[in-house]
């Protein structure tokens, strides 16, 4: 069994936000199956630099699946073929020698390309700014055990709160909807006592901002759940819809 791969990569190159982009084809040889996908790109980049060609730009930081920096459509799949796995945690043992791999940036109106595979995801920050918090100033807190939270609720809130904000849900959705992202934050707070006072305003403000940023609507194709590296489920979207209806019905 060979431990190394030879691959053909088709990579989206785009010099700037306004420049036209195109696919370029590269060959990489002797890629160890133990490498992560990004380490494979590192190897390619080192090679490009030595040939005098500018390296491929891609976002990454923690390389352990938690910061949400890395992205990439790999053969048409957000974060590649493995479920609940970010691109930085995807390993080359998943591929076969001779494979051709197509690598593109997230494609969505709300995520414009900055360069090559790097996109601008600041729309997510703006949605959070609209209401993704509990309004409590430093110093206002009561004892941590003063408010009891049933374990089941705490666990569910935690599961929603593990969203890494990478944008794969948007990239995977044919409508480029941000519903999974928004629903995860709305759910976390809807499930906790701390989130109750602003429950209605929060969901209304975040949904309004989401629409304003140019994300599409949700048509329940569930591609977002399949692509989510953090395992956020579409149950959250159902809860978001209920929260939204509740908020609009009870509005004064």
């Amino acid at each position: 069994m060979s431990d190394t791969l030879n691959l053909t990569l088709k990579v989206w190159r785009q010099a700037s936000p306004s420049a036209p982009g195109e696919f370029k084809t590269y060959k990489v040889y002797d890629i160890s199956t133990h490498m992560s996908f990004l380490e494979m790109l590192d190897v390619l980049n080192e090679d490009l630099i030595s040939k005098g060609e500018e390296p491929i730009a891609f976002d990454h930081d923690c390389r352990e699946g938690i910061c949400g920096s890395c992205s990439l459509m790999i053969n048409g799949q957000a974060h590649g073929p493995d479920r609940t796995t970010t691109t930085c945690q995807l390993h080359m043992r998943r591929f076969r020698s001779g494979d051709m791999i197509v690598i593109e940036p997230w494609r969505a109106r709300a995520f414009p390309v900055i360069r090559d595979l790097v996109v601008d995801r600041s729309a997510f920050d703006r949605i959070m700014t609209a209401g993704g918090y509990v309004s409590v100033n430093t110093g206002n807190a009561v004892d941590g055990n003063a408010v009891l939270v049933p374990k089941q609720n705490a666990d569910k809130a935690f599961a929603s709160a593990t969203c890494i904000g990478c944008g794969a849900c948007v990239a995977a959705c044919k409508n480029a909807s941000a519903m999974l992202f928004v629903s995860a934050k709305v759910s976390q707070f809807a499930l906790l006592p701390q989130g109750q006072p602003e429950r209605s305003q929060r969901v209304e403000a975040m949904v309004a901002k989401m629409d304003e940023e140019g994300f599409g609507g949700c048509t329940n194709t569930n591609e977002c759940e399949a692509a989510c590296p953090a395992g956020i489920t579409v149950d959250n979207i159902a809860r978001l819809n209920r929260e939204y209806i509740r908020a609009t019905l009870t509005a004064e």
């Binding site: 133990h34 938690i66 910061c67 949400g68 790097v118 904000g165």
Partner: protein
């Protein structure tokens, strides 16, 4: 090297009994009236736990805050990756915990090389942090009755660590980030993501602003303020391979150093015992397996050297649970420096496992038999998954293979009790300062420190700076801003013009190898001298032969990396120099010449019970070593024992 001749540094520790110092200090601190706060601008560089919490809290008070980070969002600071938990002296478990015990454990864990008063304050504030985070909606782990759950971390005998499965840092950071975003919405914080701070601007001796590169369009931008807070994290990436994120750097701190701020104890680096071992030359980072795993995992190697059997084939009687053997009262929960050295000792003696022989086992068989796989999965599921993704081995079935790796840096910019550096107006928070962990940090205490600094300490102490110092109006038109901007631009031009043959990455890797070999888990005077020569050689080569492609006026990641490596190449030498000058062993700084017969650290309190702070003396002059003596009034320094 000039030593001890210079006046010693004053940590400005408040008078009074230890337990009252912070309270008394707060009484003395000058305040800024609510209506005046809006007249002050504060720059916060970094949005991790330290910077995020500080920026949000200062904005809540009414200051105008500008917050900067190099990632595309404030939520991606490397605090996000912290796994195991955060300490607090709540004594919810009724197991004898107290502020004093947390203080004592931290002082002892730091091998008596930290400042007592800071550590005491940290322990006092720890409980408020948990309350604040709960109020923000941070979903900590809970018991069935609805109360908060705890686990145990290394170097202590109580259960005081709060956690959110293996993602505590993520949940705490998202809490601070949400508080920050709320202030953005209220117009009190302006966020500047994808900016890299490349210089500190000091006017009339006071920190008054920063120079940044806009990483999207390459513009060199200037920002002025009445105070600058550096919350830029640790320098572990000097070693190339570490558990830090790829972007972690020393640049912001190093640029401040070159503008006069002193760098304290750079040689205090933490090597974490439980990381996934190196597999190949292409490896870009190392992944931590949280210390919390040692609550249930047992560390062992075969009793027989060069044993090639698979772990399952090695019977119980032929295994050496060396931590339990050497440290019976702490066992697998011995502190990190002790556990790391013990792993190295076994591997160097030929007992290592796996193909590289540079690994030991972390075995969960006993825990799975005792509690069942589902219980173990509930506690550590995401860590086990991560291990499996990286190694393609199932840790529920066979033991993990682990080895120590660079993880955290106790050293950092020198600060006084107020978290102010020796440059007035420059405050340093979180991992970027040196303040609380001495020569070794205990697990679950970095998150605690970052949040204590940001939520509770700095909002008070910055006010004192603003209220007491006459701050003349300074705008970015000031000549000093122009000068620093020009220097930054020229440096970037220089990097792009060398057009050599060697990639930035290869220089970084080479530096990392030097530091790991000579300035890693064990150090010697001879080795450190070699390291210094090699680093100097590498630095010269870098400025002659590095190849950085592309332009300065667009998105250019290779250029970003080049600037960071250039700074690591200067900083690395001071790190090695500090290790060479400290002729003792303490915590993570292990000098082979100074050890007990059991291979433990041998301190020299007579000559080294002090902080070493390095002062920049010019481009070609050696850094000057200053000291701050450490006094212990509450805890008497002893030979640390975890036996």
């Amino acid at each position: 090297m000039t030593t001890e001749a210079k006046p010693v540094l004053d940590g400005r520790i408040p008078a009074g009994p230890m337990a009252d110092k912070w309270e008394l200090c707060q009484r003395e601190l000058k305040l800024v009236a609510p209506t005046n706060k809006r007249k002050y601008d504060i720059i916060v560089v970094g949005t991790g736990l330290a910077g995020g919490s500080a920026a949000a809290s200062l904005a809540e008070l009414g200051y105008n805050v500008k917050a900067f980070c190099f990632q595309d969002s404030a939520r991606r600071a490397h605090s996000i990756a912290a796994q195991g938990g955060i300490n607090a002296a709540k004594n919810y478990q009724n197991d004898g915990d107290s502020v004093w015990r947390l203080f004592y454990d931290t002082i002892k864990g730091g091998d008596f090389r930290s400042r007592e008063a800071n550590v005491y304050r940290l322990a006092q504030l720890s409980a408020n942090i948990i309350d604040q985070c709960v109020a923000q909606g941070v979903p900590f782990a809970r018991e069935y009755g609805g109360v908060l759950a705890n686990r145990t971390f290394g170097g202590v005998q109580v259960s005081r660590t709060f956690y959110a499965r293996g993602q505590t840092g993520q949940q705490l950071l998202l809490g601070a980030y949400s508080a920050l975003m709320r202030q953005v919405n209220l117009g009190k914080v302006k966020m500047f993501p994808r900016r890299e701070m490349l210089d500190l601007v000091v006017v009339d001796g006071v920190a008054r602003g920063i120079i940044c590169r806009n990483l999207v369009n390459g513009q060199i931008e200037t920002y002025a303020a009445h105070a600058v807070l550096l919350c830029t994290g640790g320098y572990g990436n000097a070693y190339y391979l570490s558990t830090n994120a790829k972007g972690c750097n020393v640049t912001a701190a190093w640029r401040a150093y070159k503008r006069g701020a002193m760098f304290a104890n750079p040689c205090y680096t933490q090597i974490h015992p439980t990381c996934i071992p190196v597999t190949g030359e292409y490896q870009s980072k190392l992944t931590l397996m949280s210390e919390s795993l040692r609550n249930d995992g047992r560390v062992w190697v075969p009793l027989k050297a060069d044993d090639t059997r698979s772990p399952e084939q090695i019977p119980e009687a032929e295994r050496d649970y060396y931590l339990e053997r050497r440290y019976p009262s702490y066992g697998n929960m011995a502190p990190r420096d002790v556990a790391s050295r013990a792993a190295k000792e076994r591997c160097d003696a030929g007992f290592g496992v796996g193909s590289s022989k540079q690994a030991v086992y972390l075995d969960f068989t006993a825990a799975i038999q005792r509690d069942g796989e589902s219980t173990v999965r509930a506690k550590y599921g995401n860590l086990f998954d991560m291990y499996q993704k990286i190694t393609a081995e199932d840790p529920y079935k066979s033991p993990m293979r682990i080895y120590p790796a660079i993880h955290y840096t106790m050293g950092g910019l020198w600060v006084d009790y107020y978290l102010q550096s020796n440059v007035p107006g420059l405050f340093v928070l979180g991992e970027a300062n040196f303040s609380d962990h001495g020569a070794n940090r205990l697990g679950a205490s970095a998150l605690m420190q970052g949040l204590a600094d940001g939520y509770f300490v700095v909002p008070n102490t910055v006010a004192d700076h603003l209220a007491t110092r006459k701050l003349t109006p300074v705008s970015t038109d000031h000549p000093e801003f122009r000068r620093c901007q020009e220097e930054t631009t020229n440096r970037i031009k220089k990097l792009l013009s060398i057009s050599g043959k060697r990639t930035v990455e290869s220089f970084h890797r080479a530096l990392g190898k030097i530091l790991w070999e000579y300035c890693g888990m064990s150090r010697s005077a001879k080795g450190l001298e070699v390291a210094i020569q090699k680093i100097r050689g590498l630095r010269t080569e870098f400025w002659q032969d590095v190849r950085v492609l592309g332009a300065s006026n667009n998105f250019n990641q290779d250029l970003e990396h080049a600037g960071r490596v250039a700074d690591f190449l200067e900083f690395g030498e001071v790190l090695a120099q500090d290790a060479l000058t400290r002729n003792e062993s303490c915590g993570g700084h292990f000098r082979e010449e100074y050890q007990t017969k059991d291979n433990d650290t041998l301190r020299d309190d007579q000559n080294f019970q002090h902080v070493a702070a390095w002062e920049y003396a010019g481009e070609n002059a050696p850094a000057v070593r200053r000291t701050e003596p450490l006094e212990f009034t509450e805890v008497k320094p002893t030979q640390r024992s975890y036996k």
